[in-house]
Amino acid sequence: MSTELATPAPAPSVTGAGAGQARPYAVRLDRVSKSFGSSPRARQQVLDGIGLTVAPGEFVCLLGASGCGKSTLLNLVAGLDHPTSGEVRVPHGRPALMFQDHALFPWLSAGRNVELALKLAGVPRAERRGRAEELLRLVRLPDAYGKRVHQLSGGMRQRVALARSLAQGSRVLLMDEPFAALDAITRDLLHEELTRVWRERELTVLFVTHNVREAVRLGQRVVLLSSRPGRVAREWDVDLPYPRRIEDSGVTSLAREITGHLHEEIVRHARH
C-alpha cells in the first residue's frame, strides 16, 4: 500500500515532491470518487470528483457537515482505503493519520504507544524512550508516560494520539477532528503547539474539523466540502499572519463569512 503511494513520485530531485509537475505537491487528489456498498441499489456515493492539491508545507483545513465524507477522504489519503475512481498521490511516503477516535492501543501505556510508533518508524531502541517523553511533554502530558489508556481522560487520550502521530515522523500529517473532545483552554494550547510544530518541522497538514473558527485560526487555506455527494464547494485563502489567536478580529470575521456558506450548504442539502 505504501509502495503504491510512493510510486507516483518521480525521481527524487532538489525541488522535492511532485517535481515534473508544474508545481510541487505533498498531496494531490485528482477527480477522486468513492462509493460504498456493492449492490447497485444500496450503493452510496460519498465523494464525487474531488480535486485537491496540497503544497509541501501547507496547512489546509477541511470543513463540511457531518457525514459529508471528510473521514473517508482522509482514509483515502492515508492509503487505508482505495478510491472508486480517480487518483490519490502522496509522494512523500506514508502519511501519519490521527483518527477521529483516539485509536490508542489499550494494552500499552501512553508512553509505549508513542514508542511503538517510533519503533515502526525505524527509530533505534536507545533513542525511543527519550523521544517519547519529549513528545509527551510537547502535548503537555509530561507525567503520562506510564499511564494506561483507560486511566486518561478523553482529552488526554486525544493528546497522546497527537504525540503518537507526530512520532511516526511523516512529512504529511492527516488529522481528523483531533481536538473536538477538548476543553477550550487545552484546545487553544494545542493549537499553538500544532502551529509551532508545523512550522518548525515544515510539515504538510490536512486538518478536518467542524469548527469554523478553528479552521480559520489554523489553516492557510480552508476548503469547504458539500454533502452527498461530497464535492469541493468553495475555498478560502486565509491571509492572516501567524501567530493567530482564536479571538482575533480577522479570524472572527472570516469565520463568520465561512459559517454563512456552510449554513447555505446544509440548507441546500436539506432541500434536496
Binding site: A96, F99, F105, W107, R148
Partner: protein, 324 residues
C-alpha cells in the same frame, strides 16, 4: 524546544508566591482567567495544562490487602461450608441409605494419602492433562490464527470444529479406542479432540472481535504482515486468547476424566480411582474421587487462569466488574 519545555515546567512552580497551598479549583479559575486576559506565556500554559490534568486524572483508592483477601476467600469458603452442612444434615437425617458421611469420604481421602495411592493418581492425571493441554494449545492457537487468515479454509474447517466441540467426550472414547487400541494414545486423542476445537474456535473469535480501528491504526503506522501480527493482532486479542486457553483446559480435563474412566486399560489416575469405587459399589471412594476432580478443576482455575485473565483485563481497564 523540548529542553525549554522541561525548564519551564520545572521553573514554573517556583514563580508561585510561596504562601498557603490553594485548592486546585481556585487555581484553575485563576489561571484560566489570566489566559482569557491574553497573557499566556509558556509558564502559564504548562501550569494551566497540569492544573487541568489534575482535574482530569482519576483518583485511585486501594483497599487494605487483608480485607481484599478476606473478601475474595469468603464466598468460596461459605459455599463449601454450605455444601458440607447440607451433606451432613442429609446424612444425619438418614435420607439415603447409601450416602456416606463427609467424614467417611474425608477418611477415604486420608487413607489413600497414607497408603500412597492418592498422590500418584493425582500426579498421573495432572501430568496427562498438562501434556494434552500443551499439545492442544500448540495445535489450537496456530490453527485458530490460520483460520482467520484463510477464509476458504475457515468455511471448510469452521463447522467441523464447532461440531466436534459440541460432541461429548464419552462419544469419542469408543472411536479413539477402536482406532488406536486401549492405550494411553487413545486417551490423549480424546483430550486433543476435546481441547483443540475449543481453543481454535476461541482464538478465531478473539481475532474477529479486535476493533477494526486498532488494526487500521496499526496499518497506518506501518504495521502490516508479521509486524502487525506481533505488535497489534496478538496483543489486541490476548484477553480472548486467555479465555480460549482456559476453556480448552476445562474441556481437556473433562475429556481426560471420561477417557480414564471408560477405557478398559487400567491407566493409573483419578479416573481409575473413580472406576474402582464404581466397580466395588463404594460410594465413599467415588465421592472422594469426585471431590478430587472438583478440587483440581477449581484450583487450576483460581490459581492459574483467573489471575492471568484478571491481570490482562485489568491492565486494559476491562476488569471493573470482575476485579475489585
Amino acid at each position: 524546544m523540548p529542553a525549554t519545555d522541561t525548564e519551564d515546567s520545572r521553573r514554573g512552580p517556583r514563580h508561585e508566591p510561596s504562601g498557603f497551598p490553594e485548592p486546585p479549583g481556585q487555581d484553575i479559575g485563576r489561571t484560566a482567567g489570566r489566559t482569557a486576559g491574553g497573557a499566556g506565556g509558556p509558564d502559564d500554559s504548562d501550569e494551566m495544562a497540569s492544573g487541568l490534568d489534575a482535574l482530569e486524572s482519576p483518583v485511585s483508592a486501594t483497599a487494605a490487602t487483608s480485607r481484599r483477601l478476606l473478601a475474595k476467600a469468603a464466598p468460596p469458603l461459605a459455599a463449601v461450608a454450605l455444601v458440607l452442612a447440607l451433606w451432613q444434615t442429609a446424612y444425619a437425617l438418614n435420607w439415603s441409605a447409601t450416602l456416606p458421611s463427609p467424614a467417611a469420604v474425608w477418611g477415604e481421602l486420608a487413607g489413600a494419602w497414607s497408603d500412597g495411592t492418592l498422590l500418584p493418581a493425582l500426579g498421573h492425571s495432572l501430568l496427562r492433562c498438562l501434556v494434552g493441554f500443551a499439545a492442544s494449545a500448540a495445535i489450537g492457537v496456530p490453527l485458530g490464527l490460520l483460520l482467520t487468515r484463510m477464509a476458504p479454509l475457515r468455511t471448510v474447517l469452521g463447522p467441523i470444529l464447532s461440531a466436534v466441540q459440541s460432541l461429548p467426550a464419552a462419544a469419542l472414547v469408543p472411536v479413539a479406542v477402536i482406532a488406536l487400541g486401549n492405550s494411553e494414545s487413545a486417551v490423549y486423542a480424546v483430550v486433543l479432540l476435546g481441547a483443540v476445537p475449543s481453543i481454535a474456535v476461541g482464538v478465531t473469535t478473539a481475532v474477529d472481535q479486535i476493533p477494526p480501528l486498532l488494526l487500521r491504526a496499526g496499518r497506518s503506522m506501518g504495521a502490516g504482515g508479521l509486524r502487525g501480527a506481533v505488535h497489534i493482532l496478538v496483543p489486541a486479542a490476548l484477553p480472548g486468547f486467555v479465555a480460549a486457553l482456559r476453556q480448552g483446559w476445562t474441556f481437556g480435563w473433562r475429556a481426560l476424566m471420561t477417557a480414564e474412566l471408560i477405557t478398559a486399560t487400567p491407566l493409573p489416575g483419578i479416573g481409575r480411582m473413580l472406576d474402582a469405587g464404581r466397580q466395588g459399589g463404594e460410594l465413599s471412594l467415588v465421592l472422594a474421587s469426585v471431590v478430587l476432580i472438583l478440587a483440581v478443576g477449581v484450583l487450576v482455575e483460581s490459581a492459574l487462569f483467573s489471575p492471568v485473565e484478571r491481570r490482562v483485563l485489568r491492565s486494559r481497564g476491562l476488569a471493573s466488574a470482575a476485579g475489585r
